[in-house]
Symmetry: C2
């Protein structure tokens, strides 16, 4: 244990040197033996520290030359711009574009950087299958009765137990199981809005929300959003008198990957409490963090019960299971009523299988592996984008999740280029999908929760060259 | 085969004699040997015919005396009254009563005549379990992708195939899979209504609808409904100018068990087409008929695509599977949009397991057994109610489904009596649950999809005596 911490400590020291610029791309690191002496540790510890740095893609070994700071360690690209208010501009929902992108994904030969889901190979499918089989064998009467409207008590207990980040502030009695996070959001919206209500959202935002808000007759105000810190609170304050409800992805938003700092979350919750505005918090990426600990949700700072905290296993375990949940604050009865009239109850098998997966501790193990894999993919993507995409490309710096947001030359229209890329069996999510206004046309979203192999590497390079060629 | 038909023919002849009154309660039938000669058949055939009549509860054997016409063959009780318009009367949704009835059912010692689901013992749980297991073994990638918004293509094909009653008028392309019939109805309502719209419904009606309409902000007009033939078309015509949408259970409505005759359905569809009013048709009991053939839904007569035909496996296979569907007529796109924003897609296992159950022909076999059992239960209930309930009790005459509607002495208040019956471990559904107005307090709904055994028989008798004692 002691030794393990030591090698990580050294790796962290070197990482900091790289990040603060005392070591830059191409710099040679001390040899392992020098490092051993330098840090006064065993040879093994020094070796482990360098291996750790390699696994973080911060350094690379060159045969017979030693270790060098890799390109990945360097911040070369600047971050995308902060979006601005477009309140007075004409709205046009990107329905047709969303439809097109979805339908074109049916061709399995296309490399789907456009997808919003992890590649199956990164998910614990086999282990989940086993849980399903065990559940089916154990359940005897799962077909003959409605389950509880609130969802399986076992699953609710497990989710409450795993919500460590909330430090015991929620219990199984509070949670409501839903058909995925989307259904949690939908049920919250139905509980606290009426047609004509105004909802504040991030900008860019997940296109599924745009569709839902439109169908529910809500007016949407896209709040300027910082690619690193999320919603701009000062901007929100300017329009707060117009807002009836907020819906934010506070941890690793989609598509920006922004993470609201704790102080922002605290201030946001306070602001909303002052104005009695409910917040639907979609925290479905919170467990996929690259940092040292799971970021807190706004829910953590909520004292009034105005925050409806939504989550799901969709992005980390199994998209098609449709298991999500919401901690509904003061809106529990309203949301239960919505669930009841939507479908009375939810089928048992998936709920019990997920409960089992959490119970036997496979969740933690999977998340650890998954996070490492995603971080390594992120670095690989960053390296490739820096090397092969147009020089003036700006790139988000997610500290979790699995999407990258690229802002490219203003000449680029990714909506139009989408069709051309498709012909080359490449896909990306055009920026225009993520807004109701005429913006982000020079942006794209890429999914790095893929198998990083020769083909993927080559396809990403091809995509970069494709954009270069356009300019 | 030939012999089987023969004994049924004879049984039918005798049944007709009983029904038209040429044989009445207590009449002695010819001995088996006499019947053999009378009908010029084998001794076995004559025996089988009498056994068939016994299984229909039309005759009973008395030891050493022979066979006699039983009480069941006689129509003694009159049918409940036709409901009347209460448009101008104050509305009060029975939410508290519904809640109470649901919560009190948690005590497993209570005989739950109040329940709206068949007893597990009447459902093919074991066979469905097998289908689930086979499905889990066969599906390899069921966790890693969203399914189609419209639902599993395999299941849609099977449902289209099994919708024989529509004579090929629908295809798998038309159907949308939902989370049970309730979700089908909900999605239809969301697709064609806005808060403030007025919806025409039966009276009494399924309390789940009352809850849904209330939450969705719809105004409900309860249309006078005949216990045998359903919605009174003349009454509907009187208020048709106020109606935005209709929601009817045309086959074996709940709780009345009414079955609209074909001519009524035809006229209804024509009327609604003339006024461009959509009809949400909940046909979830249609396959549980006691007559010679499956009654047609209104959908069959629909040429404009105004009828949204909803169904599910909830009442005949497995309540908790939450598998339903809708043939959405001209509203397909709108309903798909609703499904998408509700939950994106539905999990695979239950859909594929039900598809498998339909595919291998177990559905037909199960329905045959289930129908026979229900019919026999119905006769047993009728006999017991005639024998043990107050003299002036009126009783519905369902030709399918599994609920009975009793109208009792006006002095009876079933809402109040519910609590007293509960203390005797008996439950029924108070009539007040099935309306938004102050009516049906002297009515109750009983579920006869139960195990008919000594205990049930005794409990039903106790319930009858309970009401008798009150009067």
């Amino acid at each position: 244990m002691e030794q393990q911490q030591l090698y990580k400590k050294i790796a962290n020291i070197v990482e900091n040197q790289i990040k603060n610029g005392s070591l830059t791309y191409g710099d040679r690191l001390p040899s392992v033996r020098s490092a051993q002496k330098l840090y006064n540790v065993s040879l093994n510890t020094a070796k482990s520290a360098y291996m750790e740095l390699e696994s973080r893609s911060l350094i690379e070994s060159r045969p017979k030359s030693g270790f060098f700071v890799s390109l990945a360690g360097q911040r070369r690209m600047s971050i995308p711009s902060i979006s601005t208010f477009k309140i007075d501009e004409k709205k046009q929902d990107p329905a047709a574009l969303i439809d097109k992108v979805f339908h074109s994904l049916e061709d399995k030969e296309i490399t789907r950087f456009s997808l919003g889901l992890p590649s199956p190979s990164l998910l614990p499918i086999q282990k989940l299958n086993k849980c399903i089989l065990e559940t089916v064998h154990e359940l005897h009467d799962y077909g003959d009765q409605y389950g509880q409207v609130q969802g399986s008590p076992t699953l609710r207990k497990e989710i409450a137990k795993w919500s460590l980040v909330l430090e015991g502030k929620i219990s199984d009695e509070d949670l409501i199981i839903t058909s995925g996070a989307m259904n949690a959001i939908y049920s919250c919206l139905r509980a606290v809005t009426k047609p004509g209500y105004t909802i504040a959202v991030e900008s860019p935002l997940y296109f599924g929300f745009i569709q839902a808000f439109q169908v529910l007759g809500l007016k949407t105000i896209e709040i300027p959003t910082h690619p690193i810190t999320g919603i701009e609170l000062d901007a929100l304050k300017k329009v707060i008198h117009k807002i009836d409800v907020c819906c934010f992805v506070s941890n690793f938003s989609n598509p920006l990957g922004a993470l609201m700092p704790d102080e922002h979350k605290k201030e946001l919750v306070k602001l909303l409490a002052f104005h009695h505005i409910p917040l639907i918090e979609d925290d479905l990426y919170g467990n996929i963090y690259f940092g040292s600990s799971r970021p807190k949700p706004c829910k953590y700072f909520d004292e009034e019960g105005l925050v409806m905290w939504c989550g799901s296993v969709t992005k980390v375990l199994a998209p098609s299971f449709r298991i999500g949940w919401v901690e509904p604050g003061q809106y529990k009865d309203k949301i239960l009523k919505q669930r009841l009239i939507q479908t009375i109850s939810q089928p048992a098998i998936y709920q019990e299988a997920v409960a089992k997966f959490l119970q036997i501790g496979r969740y933690d193990h999977h998340l650890n592996t998954f996070r490492k894999k995603l971080y390594s993919n992120y670095i690989n993507f960053r390296n490739s984008i820096e090397a092969h995409f147009p020089e003036n490309t700006k790139m988000s710096q997610p500290e979790g999740g699995f999407v990258l947001w690229l802002e490219m030359d203003p000449k680029i229209d990714s909506t139009v280029l989408y069709d051309y890329a498709l012909k080359q069996k490449l896909s990306f999510a055009p920026g225009r999908m993520f807004t109701q206004h005429d913006q982000f046309k020079n942006c794209i979203r890429l999914n790095y929760a893929v198998d990083w192999n020769e083909k993927t590497a080559n396809d990403l390079m091809r995509l970069g060259r494709f954009f270069k060629a356009v300019i």
